[in-house]
């Protein structure tokens, strides 16, 4: 898989200074690493080792807490609800009355994690007592994924299906972490890793094994346990994410706005929340192309945008198009000064298309 193309010859994309400031802020945000896998696959144990302290209780039976998000900011701890609301949860978040409904618990004060990254521990999949869709929420917010699979029962069909259902964007930065490596003899571990290499090399950027309990043992425990290698890999992926974001950001230029989109849809510039039932980027592109084709050639781009938004609304009466991650960008394009209709339309289409494939798409979600 290749990184999104940033064609240097392509003209700069004009956006308002406010929009550029927002994009810049998003581009400089800490890289996020999600821990995923079946329940009891060693995610929480691994997180504790990476954080250097007990963050999450490790248990035999699956955890009932929402995703745990270790954030770089100072805090305070909050519950992040599916609608984007944040409830203060300082003190004992585990006893918060709304815990069951929360999408994530955000814990502050984790600025010193490897690579300055933020880590998100997900509830395990395949737990028959938990809803299956936690990964959908997390994957839109993560840049890198660690898929944890326990060495003695590594890589089963349920894991394969769940991983292949993740977006191509996330899988490009996926690391298969074979946990509980200490439960196998070294020779057996090699044979398991051999099989995994055969079966999964095409699905992951990297495959490595970790024996978390060894990390704290002796002077060379960190290296021997495989944690050191994992941290290096995370650092390398995080650098790649940052480079990619910088390249994407470099395509934009701030210009003072002259055009103002009059559509009522533009009135509300609130931060987009859960993009629940919106069409895929591919579908949105098809609708966009239809809107372009149906609009007379000399019309202003704002008309195309309005028709596009109206068509989107018709296709998804239940959904709010303003929640589409690219809506804010689309709006900022129409606000900018630009003489050439054709170029503007192309840029707007480009924004929609980008969201299908690049890490950029998550920038619009808080």
């Amino acid at each position: 898989m290749t990184a999104p193309r940033t064609d240097m010859a392509a003209p700069l994309r004009d956006v308002s200074p406010a929009a550029l400031a927002r994009l810049t802020r998003l581009a400089e945000r800490p890289v996020r690493v999600a821990l995923m896998g079946e329940f009891s696959s060693g995610k929480s144990t691994l997180l504790n080792v990476l954080a250097g302290r007990e963050v999450a209780p490790t248990q035999v039976v699956a955890t009932h807490v929402p995703s745990l998000w270790l954030q770089a900011g100072a805090g305070p701890d909050t519950l992040l609800m599916p609608d984007g609301a944040r409830l203060p949860a300082d003190g004992d978040w585990a006893r918060h009355p709304r815990l069951d409904a929360a999408a994530a618990v955000c814990l502050g004060g984790y600025a010193g994690l490897p690579g300055g990254c933020e880590f998100i521990d997900t509830p395990g999949i395949s737990d028959p007592l938990l809803a299956a869709d936690a990964l959908d929420w997390v994957e839109r917010r993560a840049d890198i994924a660690l898929w944890c699979t326990p060495a003695p029962q590594a890589w089963r069909q349920t894991e394969k299906l769940a991983w292949l259902a993740r977006t191509a964007r996330l899988r490009r930065r996926g690391i298969l972490v074979v946990t509980q490596a200490d439960r196998l003899k070294p020779s057996d571990l090699d044979r398991v890793l051999g099989r995994l290499l055969d079966e999964t090399a095409e699905h992951f950027a990297e495959i490595l094994s970790v024996a978390a309990p060894l990390a704290a043992s002796g002077d060379d425990g960190w290296a021997r346990s495989g944690v050191a290698g994992l941290v290096d890999t995370i650092l390398a992926e995080a650098s790649a994410v940052k480079a990619e974001r910088a390249a994407l950001l470099a395509r934009y230029r701030a210009v003072e706005p002259v055009l103002v989109l009059t559509s009522e849809h533009s009135a509300d510039a609130a931060a987009p929340a859960e993009p629940a039932a919106l069409p895929s980027a591919a579908e949105a592109l098809a609708i966009w192309d239809r809107a372009v084709a149906d609009t007379p050639p000399e019309s202003p781009p704002t008309l195309v945008a309005e028709r596009f938004i109206a068509a989107l609304a018709a296709a998804r009466p239940q959904a709010d198009p303003k929640q589409a991650p690219w809506f804010a960008l689309l709006r900022s394009v129409t606000e900018s000064e630009a003489a050439e209709t054709g170029r503007l339309l192309k840029q707007m289409r480009g924004e929609i298309a980008d969201f299908a494939q690049s890490a950029w798409c998550d920038l619009a979600t808080a």
Binding site: E38, F39, S40, S41, V60, V61, I125, S126, D127, P128, L129, A132, D133, D136, P150, P152, Q153, A154, W155, R156, Q157, T158, K160, L161, A165, R183, L184, D188, L189, R191, V192, G194, R195, E199, A276, A277, E283, R316, P317, Q318, A319
Partner: protein
């Protein structure tokens, strides 16, 4: 090598297994021994050669009663290691860190009549062709879901297998297809050649491990394990939730004839959604046939508390999903059981095993675990106990009950001819005239009953499927219109399975009741014949009818199952609501046609045949007895018969006969009903 090599490794602790096995299967062994002796004893005192031969055959059938226990579960849950532990032979079947069990391996304990002692069957041309053309049933499913890609994956896997086998076996490959290899004895090396996947170790030299692994479909090994006291078959199956899809198919196919199904789970992840999926697939089995074995508890830091937590959680989950709610849950460790069988005390010194010892054998003599302690700590006695209880108390003993009932009927008939004073002169020809229509009527009405049941079943099942499909299409349409996230929508296939299984069981139960009525009518007519012949009517009992076959075909995977690899993609396809729901309807109906076909064509045919045979044997037996009565009015001739049988005094023989009849009456469940029908 003699086949004793297989069990020899465990001889050092034979006492352990001896005690465990005996305690668990004692009840069953006693029942078998008693029934066998009674039937054999009867045969010895009966002068009529035909009756005696029939009784001896029943005695043999009793002695050869071998319940079948299948171990199923996810890949690497420890099924093979548990199989080895149950066989008392740690290295019997190869255990590997990567999944490899592709063949169904059956260990037949204490079944000396079976030959050869080791039999390996290879995939036949038909098997291969079906696997390659369609990617097997899974490929067919993928095609029905219009996902050629998945079918390709299975096909690629199968072709890879076939190619590996061809490369290794060369010219011999074609010659082996569809054949089997039998041996008078088996050794571990031999077993490894057939059922061990050796590919990951690189270069192969001919004749070593894994030589035939790709083409071996099943392995049958005969072992003498006196500890079990009864004949028993343990069946190791390939794991489910395997990325290698072909193996899973073989497992489901093997469950049709199983008496007990032990689902092996890992304590680290007891009851994952994949396990729930497996339990749903087993909906056709009765809950009392299922035992959940939570393996690997030696890897828990605090087994006492953690097992309690795990059990609570498992019960919650089973209740929530309404599957196997009454199934037994047994905690144990195959690794610890294998250590119990080791001659090396060091093997039992592992921390995890000692923790289990402290929990289960707190008052043991020494801190170290003796083989007996380790066996107990491993939970094997508990597992064997659960298996034995479920065999004895469940439908599995039906063949034993049926043999006892048949023996009883034979004995009673003989008793009549041998001991009854004949009061009325009988004309054999007139009697035959009376009997013939009874037989003819029963045959005819049986046929009608089954034809009706067949038609009703077909129509009812089809109606249920189409109303189910309509309901699901409506649900999908609603979900699509509401703009719901479709990714999590799925067809309630277990609901469909339950519907079909319920309907099937209901109609079969109805057919059974009808057959009982018809039999009762025939019995009444026969009793009248007896009255006419000998002046009094003996109390005749209905013969045991076979159990309704378990509707295993509803257990198969369906193209619309949510865990099918293509399902999310299928849902994600952009179609208009009407097109999408119509496609869904066609898929559901298409899948159900296959199941209905299996239920009605194959399963009903088997059952009809069995019932007809039982009824025919019952009637013809009494017909012969009555005709014999007509022939043996001559008292002198009767004495002569008794003398020929070596019975010195008539009354002694009668006494023994009566006692045998009483003994058999105790063995046959009341009212000719089977245990399962009452359960």
């Amino acid at each position: 090598m003699s086949h004793n090599d297989l069990t020899g490794c465990a001889e050092t602790v034979a006492g352990t297994r001896e005690a465990a096995g005996r305690a668990s299967f004692e009840g069953l062994a006693e029942r078998i021994a008693q029934q066998r002796q009674t039937l054999q004893g009867l045969a010895d005192i009966i002068s009529d050669e035909a009756v005696a031969a029939a009784l001896r055959a029943l005695a043999e059938r009793t002695a050869r009663f071998a319940p079948r226990v299948s171990l199923v579960g996810q890949v690497k849950a420890g099924k093979t290691m548990l199989t080895n532990a149950l066989a008392g032979a740690p290295g019997l079947l190869p255990v590997d860190v990567n999944p490899w069990t592709s063949a169904i391996t059956s260990l037949h304990f204490n079944q000396s009549w079976r030959t050869p002692k080791a039999l390996f069957r290879f995939f036949g041309d038909e098997d291969w062709q079906q696997l390659i053309d369609e990617g097997g049933r899974l490929g067919a499913l993928a095609r029905r879901a219009d996902f050629a890609g998945e079918a390709e994956t299975v096909k690629t896997q199968v072709e890879g297998l076939k190619q590996a086998a061809k490369d290794r076996l060369g010219d011999k490959f074609e010659a082996l297809i569809g054949r089997s290899h039998g041996f008078d004895s088996a050794s571990r090396a031999l077993i490894q050649r057939y059922v061990c996947a050796g590919q990951s170790d690189g270069a192969q030299t001919p004749g070593v491990a894994g030589r035939y692994s790709e083409i071996t479909k099943s392995a049958d090994l005969v072992l003498e394990i006196p500890a079990y006291a009864v004949p028993l078959t343990i069946c190791d199956t390939p794991g489910v939730n395997d990325t290698f899809l072909v193996r899973e198919q073989l497992t489901l196919e093997s469950l049709e004839n199983t008496d007990i199904c032990v689902i092996v789970l890992s304590a680290h992840q007891a009851l994952s959604s994949a396990d729930i999926g497996l339990l749903r697939l087993l909906i056709g089995l009765k809950a009392q046939q299922i035992v959940l074995f939570v393996n690997r508890i030696d890897e828990l830091a605090d087994p006492v508390h953690q097992t309690r937590e795990i059990e609570t959680r498992m019960r919650d989950t089973l209740r929530r999903y309404a599957v196997a709610e009454d199934a037994a849950i047994v905690f144990g460790s195959a690794a610890c059981a294998v250590a119990a069988l080791s001659a090396d005390p060091e093997a039992r010194a592992e921390q995890g095993f000692l923790r289990l010892g402290d929990w289960r054998v707190p008052n043991r003599a020494t801190p170290a675990l003796s083989p007996e302690d380790a066996w107990e700590a491993a939970g094997l006695p508990a597992l064997l106990g659960a298996i034995a209880a479920r065999i004895e108390g469940g439908p599995s003993v039906h063949p034993l009950d049926a043999a006892a009932a048949e023996g009883l009927d034979l004995a009673r008939r003989y008793h009549l001819t041998a001991a009854q004073e004949v009061a009325v002169a009988i004309d054999a020809a007139a009697l035959a005239d009376r009997l013939d229509p009874i037989v003819a009527t029963l045959q005819r009405t049986l046929q009608t009953t089954f034809n009706t049941a067949y038609r009703t079943l077909r129509v009812d099942l089809e109606r249920r499927v189409s109303s189910f499909a309509a309901g699901e299409c409506e649900r999908l349409a609603e979900a699509m219109l509401a703009g719901q996230r479709q990714a999590s929508w799925s067809v309630e296939t277990d609901e469909l399975r339950r519907l079909l299984a319920d309907q099937y069981n209901e109609i079969y139960a109805e057919a059974r009741r009808k057959v009982f009525e018809l039999l009762d009518e025939a019995i009444e007519a026969i009793e009248e014949c007896y009255c006419a012949a000998i002046g009094s009517a003996p109390v005749l009992r209905r013969p045991m009818l076979p159990d309704v076959p378990v509707p295993v075909s509803v257990s198969g995977s369906m193209a619309v199952d949510a865990d099918m690899p293509w399902w999310r993609n299928w849902l994600g396809r952009r179609r208009a609501v009407e097109a999408q729901t119509e496609a869904l309807r066609q898929m559901i109906v298409g899948e159900a046609v296959h199941m209905i076909g299996e239920l009605t064509e194959r399963q009903i045919a088997t059952f009809t045949q069995q019932v007809a045979t039982v009824c025919r044997d019952f009637l013809s037996g009494h017909t012969l007895t009555l005709l014999d009565l007509a022939d043996t009015q001559d008292g002198a001739r009767r004495m002569e018969m008794l003398a020929r049988a070596g019975v010195s005094a008539e009354d002694v023989a009668d006494l023994r006969l009566e006692r045998a009849i009483e003994a058999l009456e105790l063995l046959v469940p009341a009212e000719g009903e089977s245990r399962s029908a009452a359960a």
